[in-house]
Protein backbone atom coordinates (compact mmCIF):
# COMPACT_ATOMS: atom_id res chain seq x y z
CA UNK A 1 0.00 0.00 0.00
CA UNK A 2 1.55 3.27 -1.11
CA UNK A 3 2.12 5.92 1.50
CA UNK A 4 0.00 9.05 1.26
CA UNK A 5 2.75 11.51 2.00
CA UNK A 6 0.55 14.57 2.16
CA UNK A 7 -3.09 13.59 2.19
CA UNK A 8 -2.91 10.64 4.53
CA UNK A 9 -4.19 12.68 7.45
CA UNK A 10 -6.72 14.77 5.52
CA UNK A 11 -9.59 12.99 7.24
CA UNK A 12 -8.35 13.84 10.74
CA UNK A 13 -10.63 16.33 12.43
CA UNK A 14 -9.16 19.79 13.04
CA UNK A 15 -5.88 18.80 11.42
CA UNK A 16 -5.42 22.47 10.54
CA UNK A 17 -5.04 23.30 14.23
CA UNK A 18 -1.47 23.13 15.48
CA UNK A 19 -2.51 21.10 18.50
CA UNK A 20 -3.79 18.29 16.28
CA UNK A 21 -0.89 18.63 13.88
CA UNK A 22 1.61 18.21 16.69
CA UNK A 23 -0.29 15.19 18.00
CA UNK A 24 0.02 13.60 14.56
CA UNK A 25 3.80 14.08 14.58
CA UNK A 26 3.85 17.51 13.07
CA UNK A 27 6.98 19.71 13.14
CA UNK A 28 9.14 16.65 13.85
CA UNK A 29 11.11 17.35 10.69
CA UNK A 30 11.81 20.90 11.86
CA UNK A 31 12.79 19.66 15.27
CA UNK A 32 15.16 17.20 13.63
CA UNK A 33 16.63 19.56 11.07
CA UNK A 34 17.13 22.97 12.61
CA UNK A 35 19.18 22.00 15.64
CA UNK A 36 21.09 19.09 14.12
CA UNK A 37 21.35 19.34 10.35
CA UNK A 38 23.26 21.82 8.22
CA UNK A 39 21.34 23.68 5.53
CA UNK A 40 23.50 22.06 2.84
CA UNK A 41 22.53 18.62 4.11
CA UNK A 42 18.85 19.34 3.64
CA UNK A 43 19.51 20.72 0.17
CA UNK A 44 21.43 17.59 -0.77
CA UNK A 45 18.69 15.33 0.51
CA UNK A 46 16.02 17.17 -1.49
CA UNK A 47 18.25 16.99 -4.57
CA UNK A 48 18.76 13.26 -4.14
CA UNK A 49 15.02 12.78 -3.72
CA UNK A 50 14.41 14.10 -7.24
CA UNK A 51 11.53 16.21 -5.95
CA UNK A 52 10.20 17.81 -9.13
CA UNK A 53 8.04 20.93 -9.04
CA UNK A 54 4.36 20.12 -8.69
CA UNK A 55 3.04 23.42 -10.05
CA UNK A 56 3.26 22.51 -13.70
CA UNK A 57 6.81 22.96 -14.96
CA UNK A 58 8.32 20.00 -13.09
CA UNK A 59 11.69 21.60 -12.42
CA UNK A 60 13.70 19.74 -9.72
CA UNK A 61 13.30 21.68 -6.49
CA UNK A 62 16.72 20.83 -5.08
CA UNK A 63 18.44 22.06 -8.22
CA UNK A 64 16.43 25.28 -8.11
CA UNK A 65 17.44 25.85 -4.50
CA UNK A 66 21.05 25.22 -5.45
CA UNK A 67 21.01 28.10 -7.94
CA UNK A 68 20.65 30.67 -5.17
CA UNK A 69 24.01 32.35 -4.53
CA UNK A 70 24.91 32.07 -0.88
CA UNK A 71 27.23 34.97 -0.27
CA UNK A 72 25.23 37.98 -1.31
CA UNK A 73 24.65 41.06 0.84
CA UNK A 74 20.96 41.12 -0.13
CA UNK A 75 18.18 39.25 1.69
CA UNK A 76 16.84 36.07 0.05
CA UNK A 77 13.15 35.31 -0.34
CA UNK A 78 10.90 32.32 -0.71
CA UNK A 79 7.65 32.72 -2.59
CA UNK A 80 5.12 29.94 -2.23
CA UNK A 81 3.10 29.73 -5.42
CA UNK A 82 -0.42 29.17 -4.17
CA UNK A 83 -2.01 30.84 -7.18
CA UNK A 84 -3.49 27.51 -8.41
CA UNK A 85 -5.12 28.89 -11.54
CA UNK A 86 -4.65 25.99 -13.96
CA UNK A 87 -8.21 24.91 -14.81
CA UNK A 88 -9.03 21.56 -13.28
CA UNK A 89 -6.56 21.95 -10.40
CA UNK A 90 -7.63 22.15 -6.77
CA UNK A 91 -5.09 20.06 -4.88
CA UNK A 92 -3.31 23.01 -3.30
CA UNK A 93 -6.63 24.25 -1.98
CA UNK A 94 -7.02 20.94 -0.17
CA UNK A 95 -3.50 21.03 1.25
CA UNK A 96 -3.85 24.59 2.51
CA UNK A 97 -7.34 24.09 3.95
CA UNK A 98 -6.76 20.73 5.59
CA UNK A 99 -3.04 20.66 6.29
CA UNK A 100 -1.70 24.23 6.43
CA UNK A 101 0.92 23.32 9.01
CA UNK A 102 2.44 20.72 6.72
CA UNK A 103 2.97 23.49 4.19
CA UNK A 104 4.39 25.78 6.86
CA UNK A 105 6.77 23.05 7.96
CA UNK A 106 7.90 22.62 4.37
CA UNK A 107 8.40 26.37 4.12
CA UNK A 108 10.53 26.39 7.25
CA UNK A 109 12.73 23.57 5.99
CA UNK A 110 13.15 25.09 2.52
CA UNK A 111 13.98 28.50 3.99
CA UNK A 112 16.48 26.96 6.36
CA UNK A 113 18.14 25.03 3.56
CA UNK A 114 18.62 28.14 1.39
CA UNK A 115 19.17 30.77 4.05
CA UNK A 116 15.88 32.61 3.68
CA UNK A 117 14.27 34.61 6.46
CA UNK A 118 11.16 35.97 4.78
CA UNK A 119 8.66 33.82 2.94
CA UNK A 120 5.56 35.00 1.09
CA UNK A 121 2.61 32.78 0.34
CA UNK A 122 1.07 34.21 -2.84
CA UNK A 123 -2.44 32.80 -2.69
CA UNK A 124 -5.00 33.47 -5.38
CA UNK A 125 -7.56 36.09 -4.42
CA UNK A 126 -10.52 33.77 -4.82
CA UNK A 127 -9.27 31.46 -2.04
CA UNK A 128 -10.37 33.89 0.69
CA UNK A 129 -11.47 31.25 3.21
CA UNK A 130 -8.27 29.31 2.59
CA UNK A 131 -6.17 32.43 3.07
CA UNK A 132 -7.79 33.05 6.44
CA UNK A 133 -7.07 29.50 7.49
CA UNK A 134 -3.44 29.89 6.43
CA UNK A 135 -3.13 33.12 8.38
CA UNK A 136 -4.58 31.38 11.42
CA UNK A 137 -2.04 28.59 11.09
CA UNK A 138 0.82 31.06 10.68
CA UNK A 139 -0.24 32.82 13.84
CA UNK A 140 -0.43 29.53 15.74
CA UNK A 141 3.00 28.50 14.50
CA UNK A 142 4.36 31.84 15.58
CA UNK A 143 2.81 31.51 19.01
CA UNK A 144 4.28 28.05 19.51
CA UNK A 145 7.72 29.20 18.41
CA UNK A 146 7.96 27.51 15.01
CA UNK A 147 8.01 30.84 13.22
CA UNK A 148 9.41 34.24 14.10
CA UNK A 149 12.70 34.93 15.78
CA UNK A 150 15.09 32.30 17.07
CA UNK A 151 12.99 29.26 16.12
CA UNK A 152 13.42 26.48 18.67
CA UNK A 153 16.33 28.39 20.11
CA UNK A 154 18.46 27.64 17.08
CA UNK A 155 18.97 31.26 16.11
CA UNK A 156 17.09 30.81 12.82
CA UNK A 157 14.55 33.55 12.04
CA UNK A 158 11.69 33.18 9.61
CA UNK A 159 8.68 35.34 8.88
CA UNK A 160 5.79 34.09 6.75
CA UNK A 161 3.45 36.57 5.10
CA UNK A 162 0.21 35.57 3.41
CA UNK A 163 -0.32 37.73 0.31
CA UNK A 164 -3.55 37.60 -1.64
CA UNK A 165 -3.75 37.88 -5.40
CA UNK A 166 -6.73 39.42 -7.18
CA UNK A 167 -7.79 37.28 -10.08
CA UNK A 168 -5.11 36.78 -12.73
CA UNK A 169 -4.11 33.32 -13.95
CA UNK A 170 -0.86 34.70 -15.32
CA UNK A 171 0.31 35.40 -11.76
CA UNK A 172 0.88 31.69 -11.42
CA UNK A 173 3.86 32.14 -13.73
CA UNK A 174 6.78 32.64 -11.40
CA UNK A 175 8.09 35.97 -12.70
CA UNK A 176 4.58 37.41 -13.07
CA UNK A 177 4.03 36.33 -9.47
CA UNK A 178 7.06 38.35 -8.46
CA UNK A 179 5.83 41.39 -10.36
CA UNK A 180 2.43 41.10 -8.73
CA UNK A 181 3.99 40.68 -5.30
CA UNK A 182 5.98 43.85 -5.90
CA UNK A 183 2.72 45.74 -6.41
CA UNK A 184 2.65 45.86 -10.19
CA UNK A 185 0.72 44.37 -13.08
CA UNK A 186 1.36 40.65 -13.47
CA UNK A 187 3.63 40.94 -16.51
CA UNK A 188 6.14 38.08 -16.78
CA UNK A 189 9.77 39.08 -16.92
CA UNK A 190 12.46 38.22 -19.44
CA UNK A 191 14.67 35.34 -18.34
CA UNK A 192 17.65 35.51 -17.86
CA UNK A 193 18.17 36.84 -15.25
CA UNK A 194 16.50 34.02 -13.33
CA UNK A 195 14.71 34.63 -10.01
CA UNK A 196 17.40 32.65 -8.19
CA UNK A 197 19.78 35.55 -8.81
CA UNK A 198 17.44 38.49 -9.38
CA UNK A 199 13.95 37.89 -8.09
CA UNK A 200 11.73 39.67 -5.58
CA UNK A 201 12.85 43.28 -5.13
CA UNK A 202 15.99 42.38 -7.07
CA UNK A 203 17.03 39.77 -4.50
CA UNK A 204 17.70 36.02 -4.91
CA UNK A 205 14.34 34.28 -4.74
CA UNK A 206 13.06 30.71 -4.73
CA UNK A 207 9.55 30.08 -5.99
CA UNK A 208 7.99 26.72 -5.18
CA UNK A 209 4.51 25.27 -5.49
CA UNK A 210 2.46 24.38 -2.38
CA UNK A 211 2.53 20.64 -3.02
CA UNK A 212 6.25 20.68 -3.74
CA UNK A 213 7.03 22.23 -0.36
CA UNK A 214 4.55 19.99 1.42
CA UNK A 215 6.71 17.00 0.43
CA UNK A 216 9.84 18.36 2.09
CA UNK A 217 9.05 17.33 5.71
CA UNK A 218 8.75 13.70 4.58
CA UNK A 219 12.07 13.86 2.76
CA UNK A 220 13.80 15.35 5.78
CA UNK A 221 12.26 12.87 8.22
CA UNK A 222 12.50 9.68 6.17
CA UNK A 223 15.25 10.47 3.70
CA UNK A 224 15.54 10.73 -0.06
CA UNK A 225 15.56 6.95 -0.54
CA UNK A 226 12.16 6.56 1.08
CA UNK A 227 10.77 9.34 -1.03
CA UNK A 228 12.10 7.85 -4.23
CA UNK A 229 10.63 4.47 -3.32
CA UNK A 230 7.18 6.04 -3.30
CA UNK A 231 7.40 6.88 -6.96
CA UNK A 232 9.88 6.30 -9.75
CA UNK A 233 13.68 6.54 -9.80
CA UNK A 234 13.54 9.76 -11.80
CA UNK A 235 10.35 11.11 -10.31
CA UNK A 236 10.37 10.64 -6.58
CA UNK A 237 7.27 10.57 -4.44
CA UNK A 238 3.57 10.79 -5.07
CA UNK A 239 1.39 13.22 -6.95
CA UNK A 240 -1.94 14.56 -5.79
CA UNK A 241 -4.22 14.26 -8.80
CA UNK A 242 -7.21 16.60 -9.06
CA UNK A 243 -9.88 14.61 -10.89
CA UNK A 244 -13.00 16.29 -12.20
CA UNK A 245 -15.41 16.09 -15.09
CA UNK A 246 -17.76 13.23 -15.91
CA UNK A 247 -16.51 10.77 -13.27
CA UNK A 248 -18.46 9.30 -10.39
CA UNK A 249 -16.04 10.43 -7.69
CA UNK A 250 -14.34 13.73 -8.52
CA UNK A 251 -11.79 14.82 -5.93
CA UNK A 252 -8.12 14.56 -5.00
CA UNK A 253 -6.21 11.31 -5.21
CA UNK A 254 -2.65 11.00 -3.96
CA UNK A 255 -0.97 8.20 -5.84
CA UNK A 256 2.57 7.15 -6.67
CA UNK A 257 4.05 8.66 -9.79
CA UNK A 258 3.72 6.03 -12.49
CA UNK A 259 0.13 5.11 -11.68
CA UNK A 260 -1.78 4.54 -14.89
CA UNK A 261 -4.32 7.11 -16.03
CA UNK A 262 -6.89 4.37 -16.69
CA UNK A 263 -6.42 3.16 -13.14
CA UNK A 264 -6.88 6.64 -11.73
CA UNK A 265 -10.11 7.16 -13.62
CA UNK A 266 -11.73 3.78 -13.31
CA UNK A 267 -10.38 2.39 -10.03
CA UNK A 268 -10.00 5.46 -7.89
CA UNK A 269 -12.38 8.03 -9.34
CA UNK A 270 -15.15 5.48 -9.74
CA UNK A 271 -15.20 5.47 -13.49
CA UNK A 272 -17.62 7.36 -15.72
CA UNK A 273 -20.87 8.75 -14.38
CA UNK A 274 -23.88 6.56 -15.11
CA UNK A 275 -24.55 6.12 -18.76
CA UNK A 276 -21.56 8.21 -19.88
CA UNK A 277 -18.86 7.04 -22.26
CA UNK A 278 -15.33 8.41 -22.10
CA UNK A 279 -14.36 10.50 -25.10
CA UNK A 280 -11.27 12.42 -24.09
CA UNK A 281 -9.11 13.21 -21.08
CA UNK A 282 -7.04 16.25 -20.26
CA UNK A 283 -4.25 14.79 -18.11
CA UNK A 284 -2.41 17.78 -16.61
CA UNK A 285 -4.61 20.84 -16.41
CA UNK A 286 -6.14 22.67 -19.35
CA UNK A 287 -2.73 23.58 -20.77
CA UNK A 288 -1.83 19.92 -21.28
CA UNK A 289 -2.64 18.54 -24.71
CA UNK A 290 -5.75 16.40 -24.76
CA UNK A 291 -5.74 12.59 -24.97
CA UNK A 292 -8.28 10.56 -26.89
CA UNK A 293 -10.08 7.63 -25.28
CA UNK A 294 -7.63 5.24 -26.94
CA UNK A 295 -4.63 7.10 -25.53
CA UNK A 296 -5.29 6.90 -21.80
CA UNK A 297 -3.53 3.62 -21.07
CA UNK A 298 -0.31 5.26 -19.99
CA UNK A 299 1.59 5.86 -16.73
CA UNK A 300 1.20 9.22 -15.10
CA UNK A 301 4.73 10.53 -14.82
CA UNK A 302 6.63 13.42 -16.35
CA UNK A 303 8.38 11.50 -19.13
CA UNK A 304 5.62 9.16 -20.23
CA UNK A 305 3.24 12.03 -20.80
CA UNK A 306 5.82 14.01 -22.74
CA UNK A 307 6.34 10.94 -24.92
CA UNK A 308 2.60 10.84 -25.52
CA UNK A 309 2.70 14.41 -26.73
CA UNK A 310 1.17 15.87 -23.60
CA UNK A 311 2.44 16.74 -20.11
CA UNK A 312 1.87 15.96 -16.43
CA UNK A 313 1.56 19.68 -15.70
CA UNK A 314 -0.47 20.33 -12.56
CA UNK A 315 -1.74 16.72 -12.51
CA UNK A 316 -5.31 17.91 -13.00
CA UNK A 317 -7.33 15.25 -14.82
CA UNK A 318 -10.49 16.39 -16.58
CA UNK A 319 -12.63 13.61 -18.01
CA UNK A 320 -14.82 14.40 -21.01
CA UNK A 321 -17.70 12.25 -22.22
CA UNK A 322 -19.12 11.40 -25.64
CA UNK A 323 -22.07 13.74 -25.30
CA UNK A 324 -19.90 16.79 -24.79
CA UNK A 325 -19.35 18.89 -27.90
CA UNK A 326 -15.65 19.41 -28.58
CA UNK A 327 -16.58 22.78 -30.00
CA UNK A 328 -17.79 23.68 -26.52
CA UNK A 329 -14.45 22.50 -25.14
CA UNK A 330 -12.60 24.53 -27.75
CA UNK A 331 -14.67 27.60 -26.92
CA UNK A 332 -13.93 27.24 -23.21
CA UNK A 333 -10.21 26.89 -23.90
CA UNK A 334 -10.05 29.79 -26.36
CA UNK A 335 -12.02 32.06 -24.06
CA UNK A 336 -9.90 31.21 -21.04
CA UNK A 337 -6.58 32.11 -22.65
CA UNK A 338 -8.03 35.21 -24.27
CA UNK A 339 -9.31 36.35 -20.88
CA UNK A 340 -6.11 35.61 -19.02
CA UNK A 341 -3.53 36.87 -21.52
CA UNK A 342 -1.61 39.64 -19.80
CA UNK A 343 -1.27 41.48 -23.12
CA UNK A 344 2.41 42.21 -22.92
CA UNK A 345 3.72 40.36 -25.96
CA UNK A 346 2.32 40.45 -29.48
CA UNK A 347 1.67 36.78 -30.33
CA UNK A 348 -0.29 35.94 -27.17
CA UNK A 349 -2.13 39.24 -26.94
CA UNK A 350 -3.41 39.19 -30.50
CA UNK A 351 -3.29 35.44 -31.13
CA UNK A 352 -5.52 34.38 -28.23
CA UNK A 353 -8.04 37.07 -29.10
CA UNK A 354 -8.05 36.20 -32.80
CA UNK A 355 -8.55 32.51 -32.10
CA UNK A 356 -11.39 33.31 -29.71
CA UNK A 357 -13.04 35.50 -32.32
CA UNK A 358 -12.95 32.65 -34.85
CA UNK A 359 -14.27 30.11 -32.35
CA UNK A 360 -17.07 32.47 -31.31
CA UNK A 361 -18.10 32.70 -34.93
CA UNK A 362 -18.03 28.93 -35.24
CA UNK A 363 -20.23 28.58 -32.17
CA UNK A 364 -22.67 31.09 -33.67
CA UNK A 365 -22.96 28.84 -36.68
CA UNK A 366 -20.89 31.07 -38.98
CA UNK A 367 -17.86 28.85 -39.34
CA UNK A 368 -15.92 29.18 -42.57
CA UNK A 369 -14.12 26.44 -44.45
CA UNK A 370 -10.67 27.68 -43.54
CA UNK A 371 -11.32 28.33 -39.83
CA UNK A 372 -9.76 25.19 -38.35
CA UNK A 373 -6.65 25.54 -40.46
CA UNK A 374 -6.39 29.18 -39.51
CA UNK A 375 -6.70 28.35 -35.83
CA UNK A 376 -4.03 25.67 -36.13
CA UNK A 377 -1.75 28.07 -37.96
CA UNK A 378 -2.30 30.88 -35.46
CA UNK A 379 -1.66 28.58 -32.53
CA UNK A 380 1.54 27.40 -34.19
CA UNK A 381 2.53 31.01 -34.66
CA UNK A 382 2.11 31.63 -30.95
CA UNK A 383 4.15 28.56 -29.97
CA UNK A 384 7.71 29.25 -28.99
CA UNK A 385 7.54 32.95 -29.78
CA UNK A 386 6.12 34.43 -26.61
CA UNK A 387 7.76 36.11 -23.67
CA UNK A 388 6.50 33.52 -21.20
CA UNK A 389 5.28 29.91 -21.29
CA UNK A 390 1.63 30.96 -21.28
CA UNK A 391 1.80 31.32 -25.04
CA UNK A 392 2.68 27.65 -25.31
CA UNK A 393 0.09 26.84 -22.65
CA UNK A 394 -2.53 28.47 -24.85
CA UNK A 395 -1.32 27.03 -28.13
CA UNK A 396 -0.69 23.39 -27.25
CA UNK A 397 -4.12 22.32 -26.02
CA UNK A 398 -5.86 24.17 -28.85
CA UNK A 399 -3.55 22.53 -31.38
CA UNK A 400 -4.10 19.06 -29.94
CA UNK A 401 -7.86 19.56 -29.81
CA UNK A 402 -8.09 20.77 -33.40
CA UNK A 403 -5.90 17.98 -34.66
CA UNK A 404 -7.29 15.05 -32.68
CA UNK A 405 -10.95 16.02 -33.02
CA UNK A 406 -10.78 17.63 -36.41
CA UNK A 407 -13.59 15.61 -37.92
CA UNK A 408 -16.04 16.58 -35.23
CA UNK A 409 -14.99 20.23 -35.20
CA UNK A 410 -15.08 20.46 -38.96
CA UNK A 411 -18.80 19.83 -38.84
CA UNK A 412 -19.12 23.45 -37.71
CA UNK A 413 -17.50 24.87 -40.79
CA UNK A 414 -19.07 25.88 -44.05
CA UNK A 415 -18.65 23.11 -46.65
Amino acid sequence: MATKIISGDFGVENLFEIRTYLQRGGYEAVKKALPRMKPAEILEEVKKANLRGRGGAGFPAGVKWGFVPQNVPRPKYLCVNADEGEPGTFKDRYIMSHHPHLLIEGIILASYAVGIHTAFIYIRGEYEAVARRLEGAVQEAQREGYLGKNILGTGFDLEVIVHRGAGAYICGEETALLESLEGKRGHPRLKPPFPASIGLFGCPTVINNVETLSNVPFIVLHGAESFLKQGLPKDGGTRIFSVSGMVKKPGIYELPLGTKLVTLIYEFAGGMMDGKKLKAVIPGGMSAPILRADEIDLPLDFDSLVEAGSMLGSAAVIVIDEETSMLEVLKTMARFYFHESCGQCTPCRVGTSWIYKIVTRMVAGEGRKEDLDTIIDLASNIMGKTLCPMGDAAAMPILSLCRKFREELAKNLAP
Binding site: P75, E84, G85, E86, P87, G88, T89, F90, D92, R93, T118, R124, G125, E126, Y127, E128, A129, I161, H163, R164, G165, A166, G167, A168, Y169, S180, L181, E182, G183, K184, R185, G186, F201, S242, V243, S244, G245, M246, P250, G251, I252, I282, M286, A316, I318, I320, D321, T324, E328, V329, T332, M333, R335, F336, H339, E340, C342
Partner: protein, 157 residues
Protein backbone atom coordinates in the same frame (compact mmCIF):
# COMPACT_ATOMS: atom_id res chain seq x y z
CA UNK B 1 -7.60 63.02 2.61
CA UNK B 2 -10.47 60.65 2.77
CA UNK B 3 -12.93 61.24 5.59
CA UNK B 4 -15.06 58.44 4.16
CA UNK B 5 -12.69 55.72 5.38
CA UNK B 6 -13.13 54.19 8.79
CA UNK B 7 -10.23 54.41 11.26
CA UNK B 8 -10.40 50.62 11.40
CA UNK B 9 -9.60 50.45 7.71
CA UNK B 10 -6.74 52.90 8.02
CA UNK B 11 -5.31 50.88 10.88
CA UNK B 12 -5.57 47.66 8.89
CA UNK B 13 -3.88 49.31 5.94
CA UNK B 14 -1.06 50.60 8.11
CA UNK B 15 -0.49 47.19 9.58
CA UNK B 16 -0.56 45.62 6.13
CA UNK B 17 1.98 48.05 4.71
CA UNK B 18 4.27 47.33 7.65
CA UNK B 19 4.60 43.67 6.68
CA UNK B 20 6.43 44.33 3.42
CA UNK B 21 10.04 45.37 2.85
CA UNK B 22 8.79 47.89 0.27
CA UNK B 23 5.58 49.88 0.60
CA UNK B 24 4.48 49.38 -3.00
CA UNK B 25 4.27 45.62 -2.48
CA UNK B 26 1.17 46.19 -0.38
CA UNK B 27 -0.70 47.77 -3.30
CA UNK B 28 -2.86 44.83 -4.29
CA UNK B 29 -3.93 43.82 -0.75
CA UNK B 30 -4.57 47.49 0.12
CA UNK B 31 -6.75 47.92 -2.95
CA UNK B 32 -8.78 44.90 -1.91
CA UNK B 33 -9.19 46.24 1.62
CA UNK B 34 -10.36 49.60 0.33
CA UNK B 35 -12.66 47.88 -2.12
CA UNK B 36 -14.19 45.76 0.63
CA UNK B 37 -15.15 48.89 2.47
CA UNK B 38 -16.06 51.26 -0.35
CA UNK B 39 -17.42 48.81 -2.91
CA UNK B 40 -15.24 49.60 -5.86
CA UNK B 41 -12.05 51.41 -6.83
CA UNK B 42 -12.65 54.74 -8.54
CA UNK B 43 -10.34 57.71 -9.17
CA UNK B 44 -10.72 58.98 -5.61
CA UNK B 45 -9.69 55.65 -4.17
CA UNK B 46 -6.81 55.41 -6.63
CA UNK B 47 -5.53 58.81 -5.51
CA UNK B 48 -5.94 57.89 -1.86
CA UNK B 49 -4.05 54.62 -2.18
CA UNK B 50 -1.39 56.30 -4.32
CA UNK B 51 -0.81 58.82 -1.56
CA UNK B 52 -0.50 56.12 1.08
CA UNK B 53 2.14 54.22 -0.85
CA UNK B 54 4.07 57.14 -2.39
CA UNK B 55 3.06 56.13 -5.88
CA UNK B 56 1.76 58.09 -8.82
CA UNK B 57 -2.00 57.56 -9.26
CA UNK B 58 -1.31 56.19 -12.75
CA UNK B 59 0.62 53.27 -11.25
CA UNK B 60 -2.40 52.45 -9.11
CA UNK B 61 -4.73 52.62 -12.08
CA UNK B 62 -2.47 50.31 -14.06
CA UNK B 63 -2.78 47.72 -11.32
CA UNK B 64 -6.47 48.28 -10.58
CA UNK B 65 -7.46 47.66 -14.19
CA UNK B 66 -5.32 44.55 -14.59
CA UNK B 67 -6.83 42.27 -11.98
CA UNK B 68 -10.29 40.74 -12.42
CA UNK B 69 -11.15 40.92 -8.73
CA UNK B 70 -10.45 44.63 -8.47
CA UNK B 71 -13.74 46.20 -9.40
CA UNK B 72 -13.59 49.58 -11.02
CA UNK B 73 -17.34 49.96 -11.31
CA UNK B 74 -19.96 49.77 -8.56
CA UNK B 75 -21.39 46.29 -8.05
CA UNK B 76 -24.43 44.97 -6.29
CA UNK B 77 -24.27 44.03 -2.66
CA UNK B 78 -23.93 40.39 -3.67
CA UNK B 79 -21.62 39.65 -6.52
CA UNK B 80 -22.59 36.26 -7.95
CA UNK B 81 -19.72 34.87 -9.98
CA UNK B 82 -20.46 31.71 -11.93
CA UNK B 83 -17.54 29.64 -13.16
CA UNK B 84 -17.86 28.78 -16.85
CA UNK B 85 -14.57 26.99 -17.30
CA UNK B 86 -14.27 23.39 -18.47
CA UNK B 87 -15.30 21.10 -15.62
CA UNK B 88 -18.11 23.41 -14.58
CA UNK B 89 -19.37 23.64 -18.17
CA UNK B 90 -19.23 19.86 -18.44
CA UNK B 91 -21.35 19.61 -15.32
CA UNK B 92 -23.96 22.18 -16.34
CA UNK B 93 -22.66 25.71 -15.72
CA UNK B 94 -24.67 26.99 -18.68
CA UNK B 95 -27.90 25.80 -17.08
CA UNK B 96 -26.88 27.42 -13.79
CA UNK B 97 -26.17 30.68 -15.54
CA UNK B 98 -29.40 30.64 -17.50
CA UNK B 99 -31.39 29.92 -14.39
CA UNK B 100 -29.75 32.80 -12.51
CA UNK B 101 -30.36 35.16 -15.41
CA UNK B 102 -33.97 34.11 -15.28
CA UNK B 103 -34.40 34.43 -11.53
CA UNK B 104 -32.58 37.74 -11.25
CA UNK B 105 -33.84 39.17 -14.50
CA UNK B 106 -30.40 40.43 -15.55
CA UNK B 107 -27.70 39.44 -17.97
CA UNK B 108 -24.03 38.75 -17.38
CA UNK B 109 -22.21 41.88 -16.23
CA UNK B 110 -25.42 43.54 -15.08
CA UNK B 111 -26.80 44.56 -11.69
CA UNK B 112 -30.38 44.24 -10.49
CA UNK B 113 -32.20 47.57 -10.28
CA UNK B 114 -32.40 47.36 -6.49
CA UNK B 115 -28.63 47.12 -6.36
CA UNK B 116 -28.70 43.76 -4.63
CA UNK B 117 -27.17 41.35 -7.14
CA UNK B 118 -24.54 41.55 -9.82
CA UNK B 119 -24.08 38.56 -12.08
CA UNK B 120 -20.70 37.70 -13.62
CA UNK B 121 -18.98 34.78 -15.19
CA UNK B 122 -15.50 33.85 -14.02
CA UNK B 123 -12.78 31.43 -14.97
CA UNK B 124 -11.75 28.36 -12.97
CA UNK B 125 -12.27 28.86 -9.23
CA UNK B 126 -10.20 25.84 -8.26
CA UNK B 127 -13.18 23.83 -6.95
CA UNK B 128 -13.76 21.57 -9.93
CA UNK B 129 -14.59 18.54 -7.78
CA UNK B 130 -17.80 20.34 -6.82
CA UNK B 131 -18.69 21.52 -10.29
CA UNK B 132 -20.75 23.43 -11.20
CA UNK B 133 -19.43 26.04 -8.87
CA UNK B 134 -20.12 29.66 -8.09
CA UNK B 135 -18.85 32.32 -5.71
CA UNK B 136 -21.02 34.86 -3.90
CA UNK B 137 -18.71 37.65 -2.78
CA UNK B 138 -16.01 35.43 -1.25
CA UNK B 139 -18.09 32.36 -0.42
CA UNK B 140 -17.83 29.24 -2.56
CA UNK B 141 -20.90 27.17 -3.41
CA UNK B 142 -20.46 23.88 -5.19
CA UNK B 143 -22.69 21.32 -6.86
CA UNK B 144 -25.29 24.02 -7.47
CA UNK B 145 -28.52 23.08 -9.07
CA UNK B 146 -31.82 24.96 -9.21
CA UNK B 147 -32.70 24.01 -5.69
CA UNK B 148 -29.34 25.08 -4.31
CA UNK B 149 -29.58 28.34 -6.18
CA UNK B 150 -32.98 29.02 -4.69
CA UNK B 151 -31.61 28.26 -1.25
CA UNK B 152 -28.57 30.46 -1.74
CA UNK B 153 -30.61 33.40 -3.02
CA UNK B 154 -33.07 33.02 -0.21
CA UNK B 155 -30.25 33.22 2.29
CA UNK B 156 -28.90 36.48 0.90
CA UNK B 157 -30.74 39.22 2.69
Amino acid sequence: MSPAYSPGLLRKIDELIGRYPKKEAALLPVLRLVQDEVGCIGPEEEKFVAGLLDLKPMRVREVATFYTMILTRPQGRYHIQVCHNLSCTLLGATTVLDYLKDRLGIGVGETTPDGKFTLSTVECLGACEMAPCLMVNSDYHGRVDRQRIDEILAGLK
